[in-house]
Amino acid sequence: MHLTATASQTVGPFFRIGLEHLYIADLAPAAAAGDKVAIHGRVVDGDGKPVNDAIIEIWQADARGRYAHPDDTQDKPATPDFKGFGRVPTDEHGAFRFTTVKPGSVPGPRGMPQAPHLLVAVFMRGLLKHLLTRVYFPDDPDNAADPVLKLVPAERCATLIAMKANDGLEWNVILQGENETVFFDY
């Protein structure tokens, strides 16, 4: 006998009231090892209009590829003070920005290594349940063999890989259309 999971409902337009206390735009404690990187982008709807009432959450491993979670039993030292969680809202231009360190590789299905990646959950008015996607890093040699990227139609993989920009990396959330971001059934 199993229970059935409670249904999701939209965060609506006023989530700031309840979620602001955990806004975290800098995921990298000062002492954390690894390359610091700023990631910015925009959330855009099906009319190409910026979404100014979205909020994204990030979950990632540290620079060695270890999650700050007791179920990560890998034989790797944990990074003190590294939590790996971020939460940022979009601004009036639909833009968001956060700073982190590039995570290390973590194991995937059948122990195959995964390329460095972030998990990103996207919440907004009009989303009855949140979207889940991933951000990969440009020019990473492990992207080609990543077991999750391999599940994505080749012509859509680019939507999951951040682009180099003048001041860090750019990665956008395109909700609909030709360049629609790949979202996962999770």
Partner: protein, 234 residues
């Protein structure tokens, strides 16, 4: 490394689809291309865990956050957070937010012509205890109009956000109140196809939670996703 047990996939009709045209905002925001089925790897079965650092005692009583008590009907909401395998989810963060008794949110984008209450912020947080139980005190939120369709009104509701143990157990939902005449007309609630799944978002009046001479109680149990295969107990 052996494969990690993943979490159960939802039963059909128990979760909303992304596109539900009666809720107009879904039309330009729901994905239009096929979703890619994501295996549950270490990335998905881990997630942020929060502790007492994030929660102070007054965070779970929204009537004690200002100089005086907020206006409205004081209520107690409590329940049990379990997973689909009927195991309690202990020490997990619940974030809540809501409008005031007049149906107005303390938010710059809420333009409803109803009064703000200087004694009500509408935000709370609580951690479940070791048995997965939680309790908070607040005031009953009002109904308010929205622009989804002519003469559209949201039923009274409280927003809840939970994390559970994994990033794929993340849940944001809304709790409604039994007997609210607006429930059958709400496209956000009606986006859930299965009647039983809709019904589980409606909190029932509860004598056991009701505190004599103080406040009516409502019971709202929450079920987070559970693991598909039960890992060996430690």
């Amino acid at each position: 490394m052996a494969d990690i047990p993943g979490y159960r996939r939802p039963h059909k009709g128990t979760q909303p689809e992304y596109l539900y045209p009666a809720y107009a905002s879904t039309r330009k925001r729901a994905p239009t291309r096929p979703l890619v089925v994501l295996p549950h790897t270490l990335s998905e079965v881990t997630g942020p865990l929060f502790g007492t650092d994030e929660v102070r005692p007054e965070d779970s009583d929204l009537t004690l956050q200002h100089a005086a008590a907020p206006l409205g009907e004081r209520i107690i909401v409590s329940g049990h957070v379990l997973d689909e395998n009927e195991r309690p989810v202990p020490n997990t963060l619940i974030e809540i937010w809501q409008c005031n008794a007049a149906g107005r949110y303390r938010h710059q984008d809420d333009s409803h012509d109803a009064p703000l209450d200087p004694n009500f912020s509408g935000a709370g947080r609580v951690l479940t205890d070791k048995e997965g139980r939680y309790r908070f005190v607040t005031i009953k939120p009002g109904a308010y109009p929205w622009r989804n369709h002519p003469n559209a009104w949201r039923p009274s509701h409280i927003h809840l956000s939970l994390f559970g143990r994994a990033f794929v157990t993340r849940l944001v939902t809304q709790m409604y109140f039994a007997g609210d005449p607006l429930l059958p007309h709400d496209p956000i609630l009606n986006s859930i196809a299965q009647e039983g799944a809709r019904h589980r978002l409606v909190a029932d009046f509860d004598w056991e939670t009701t505190a004599p001479e103080y406040a009516l109680g409502y019971r709202f149990d929450i079920v987070l996703r559970g693991r598909d295969a039960t890992p060996m107990d430690k």
